[in-house]
Symmetry: C2
C-alpha cells in the first residue's frame, strides 16, 4: 500500500463559509445560498450562480455526470464536510491532501470579478480563515493549507500571505494566466509584492489549470465540453513556459511553482522546445542565459494522476519534480480506487522512485510530513 | 547522407505574383509592392504591410535577426526565387520540399480579411497558379504543390481544390483554428465541401502553426516574442485534439491531416490525455467510441525538426506518423546544416526508421517519389 500525498483536491464550500464570517451589513451581498424552483443557488452582489454538477462527481457513475446544477444533498458529504473528506481520504490511504477552492475560484479568480473590492477582500480573508481554521483544523495532520489572495491588489495580497503563513499556510492558489483576468502578466513588476511574500514565507505558488478563467477551446460554440477538458495540459504548458522565461524566477531564485492538474508527460517536449527557441532568439531579444530548462529544474514541480506515458518518461521529466494528485471530487479522480490505480501505474517503477513521486517530493516541497503535518518554521 | 523530404518550407512571394495574374482593373487593389522611405512594402485594398524580417532569416547570423521590415535585396534569393531555392535545397540534399505561402497567409488566412471577396478569390487562384505553374514548375521533381483556398466560401474552395488537384496539387494549407478567423469550427457542417474535395482528390490537409492567426501568448503586452514562438506546439495540440474529436474523421474516414511545424514530442502525452478524457466524458456527452488515439493512428501525421526527446519517444509517437521539415527560410531552419543536424538527431536510430521519418512516410503521404516527383493518379 502506498502512503499517498495528493497535491490537488477540491473543496465545495458549504453554505455558511462567508455568512458565518462577514459583517452583518454584507448579509445580502456576501456569497450565500438560496433555494429556488427546488434547486440551490449561490447569490452574491445580487447575481445568481448554480453549482456545476461536474465539480462534484465523486462516487457517481459516469453516465450520470453532467453540467447541470446540483444540490448539496446530491453530493457525497466528503465534497463539503472536512471530517467526511478526511475519512474518504483515509479509505484510499491518502494521508495528506492540498485542496483548492470552488466558489472563490482557483487563484481567487471569481472574487476578482466582485464590483465591491472591500467585500471581495473580506471574502478572501473569510475563505482563508474557513480553510485553515475549519477545514484544515478538522484533520490538521492531513489538510495542507492552501490560500487565495486579492489578485487585484498585490500589496494587500502580500499582507494576507504573511498573515496566513503565520497560521500555517503552505501554498497559494494563483491564476495560471493573469492577462485574461484583466491583470498584468508575469513580465510586469505589478506582482513583485506577492513573489516577495511567497519567497519570504516559503509558500508554494500553485497554478491550477483553468484558474486563468480561460479554457483552450477550438470549438466554443458547437464542440463538446470534453474538448477543452482534454486540452487542460495546454494551459499548464503556457503557464510554465511563460514563468520560465519571465523575470519572476530571475528576481526570486528561490520561488517555488507547482503546476496543478496539468499532467507531466508533455513537459520534456515543452522544455526542449522552449530551450531551443530561447537559444535561437535570446540574442536579438536581449535576454539573459538562464534557460527554461534550468528554471524548470530549480523552481517548478508538476503532478500526475493517470499517465502511463508520463511515468514512462519520468526520468526525462525528473523524478524529483513529479507529484501525485487525487482530484477528489472532480471528474479526474479515481477515488475510491486510488491504491489500485497507483499500483498499476507504478507497477514497473522502483520503490524509491514511486515513494518520491507519491509522497516524498510533496513532503519536501510543502514542508509537510505524512501522518504528522506541517514541519519546519515559516 | 540522407535523402531528405521537407514537409514544411516557406515561399516569400516575389513582387509580381499577383500583378502578373490579376485583371488590370485590380492594379491598385491587388497585392503589389511599393517603395517608401527606402523600404519596400506590400499594398492591397489601400493598406500597407511590411515584410517581417523574422520570416527570412536563412543565411543570417542570429544577432542580426529582428522583426523589422526587410527588402527583397536583404534576403538571400532562395527566399523568393524557386531556382535559387532548389539549388539551396540540393546543397543540403533536400530532394523534395513542400512550401507554404507568406503574404497569402498560411491557409489563405490573410486573404480571408479582404473586404472584396471577388478580389480575394482571384488572389487565391493567382497564388495557386503562381505556386504550381511558376514555383513548382521551376523544379517539378522537388516542389510538392501545396495550395490555399477561399476559406470564407467552402463551395468555391472545393472547386479550387479540384481544379488544382488536376494540375498536380498534393496538399491544402488550411487554418489550424477557424473560430479565431470568424469562421465555424471543425464541428460544423460548413466545411464538408472542403473535406469531400480533399478525400476525393487525396489532397492532404496541412495545418501550420500560426495559421489560425492567433498565437498562444500569456504576455502579449510586455513579454518577449520568443514566448509565443516557444508555445507553437500548443496550437498544434489544440488543432489535433479538436480534429480527433470532431465529426471530420468520422464522416471522412480516409481524410489525411498533417500538422506542420508543431513538433512531435508532445503527441503521446496529448493523445493519452485526450483518450482518457474522451473515455470519462463520452457517455454523458453522447459521443461515439472512436478514440482520439485511433484517429491519430489512422488520419494524422506530424513533423519534427530538432527534437531529441521526440526521437527518443518515436515509437510512442509512431514511426510511420513522423515527417521531417527544414523550415527554410524561417528561424527554425538549420539549413545549410541539415545533413549534420539530421545525422546527429538520428545517430542512434536504425536506418529503416530514419529513412521512414526523413523521406519514406512523406513520400507515401503525399504520393511523391524522391528524385522523381508526383506519382499515382488524382
Amino acid at each position: 500500500m502506498f502512503d499517498l500525498f495528493s497535491v490537488d483536491d477540491h473543496i465545495i464550500e458549504h453554505a455558511k463559509v462567508w455568512t458565518d464570517r462577514l459583517p452583518a451589513r454584507y448579509a445580502d451581498d456576501a456569497p450565500h445560498v438560496i433555494e429556488r424552483d427546488g434547486r440551490e443557488y449561490w447569490v452574491w452582489e445580487g447575481e445568481t450562480f448554480p453549482q456545476m454538477g461536474l465539480n462534484a462527481v465523486a462516487g457517481k457513475p459516469q453516465e450520470k455526470w453532467n453540467l447541470e446544477p446540483v444540490r448539496f444533498s446530491d453530493m457525497i458529504p466528503g465534497c463539503y464536510d472536512p471530517r467526511a473528506r478526511a475519512e474518504d481520504m483515509r479509505e484510499d490511504n491518502i494521508l495528506a491532501s492540498l485542496c483548492f477552492p470552488t466558489l472563490a475560484g482557483f487563484g481567487g479568480r471569481v472574487l476578482n470579478n466582485y464590483a465591491d473590492k472591500e467585500l471581495a477582500s473580506l471574502c478572501v480573508a473569510a475563505y482563508n480563515d474557513f480553510h485553515i481554521d475549519e477545514w484544515c483544523a478538522a484533520a490538521p495532520e492531513m489538510f495542507v493549507p492552501c490560500i487565495v489572495g486579492q489578485v487585484w491588489d498585490p500589496v494587500a495580497m502580500a499582507t494576507e500571505i504573511r498573515r496566513c503563513a503565520a497560521k500555517g499556510a503552505r501554498a497559494l492558489s494563483f491564476p495560471e494566466g493573469t492577462v485574461s483576468l484583466g491583470l498584468p502578466s508575469l513580465f510586469s513588476d505589478f506582482w513583485n509584492p506577492v513573489w516577495e511574500a511567497c519567497t519570504e514565507t516559503d509558500i508554494v505558488v500553485c497554478m491550477h489549470i483553468g484558474s486563468s478563467g480561460e479554457l483552450t477551446n477550438p470549438a466554443p460554440d458547437d464542440g463538446p465540453f470534453v474538448l477543452p477538458i482534454a486540452l487542460g495540459n495546454v494551459n499548464a504548458c503556457a503557464a510554465m513556459v511563460a514563468f520560465a522565461m519571465s523575470p519572476v524566477p530571475r528576481r526570486y531564485p528561490t520561488i517555488k511553482l507547482a503546476l496543478s492538474e496539468g499532467g507531466i508527460g508533455w513537459i520534456p517536449s515543452a522544455i526542449e522546445r522552449a530551450d531551443r527557441q530561447f537559444l535561437k532568439h535570446r540574442l536579438w531579444a536581449g535576454m539573459d542565459d538562464l534557460l527554461p530548462s534550468q528554471v524548470w529544474e530549480r523552481n517548478i514541480w508538476a503532478c500526475m494522476i493517470e499517465e502511463p506515458f508520463g511515468v514512462k518518461v519520468r526520468h526525462d521529466v525528473g523524478i524529483d519534480k513529479i507529484l501525485w494528485e487525487c482530484d477528489y471530487p472532480h471528474a479526474d479522480t479515481l477515488w475510491p480506487h486510488s491504491q489500485k490505480q497507483v499500483a498499476e501505474l507504478l507497477a514497473d517503477v522502483p520503490a524509491a522512485e514511486a515513494k518520491a513521486m507519491t509522497s516524498g517530493n510533496a513532503e519536501e516541497l510543502f514542508r509537510w510530513k505524512i501522518g504528522v503535518g506541517g514541519v519546519g518554521g515559516v
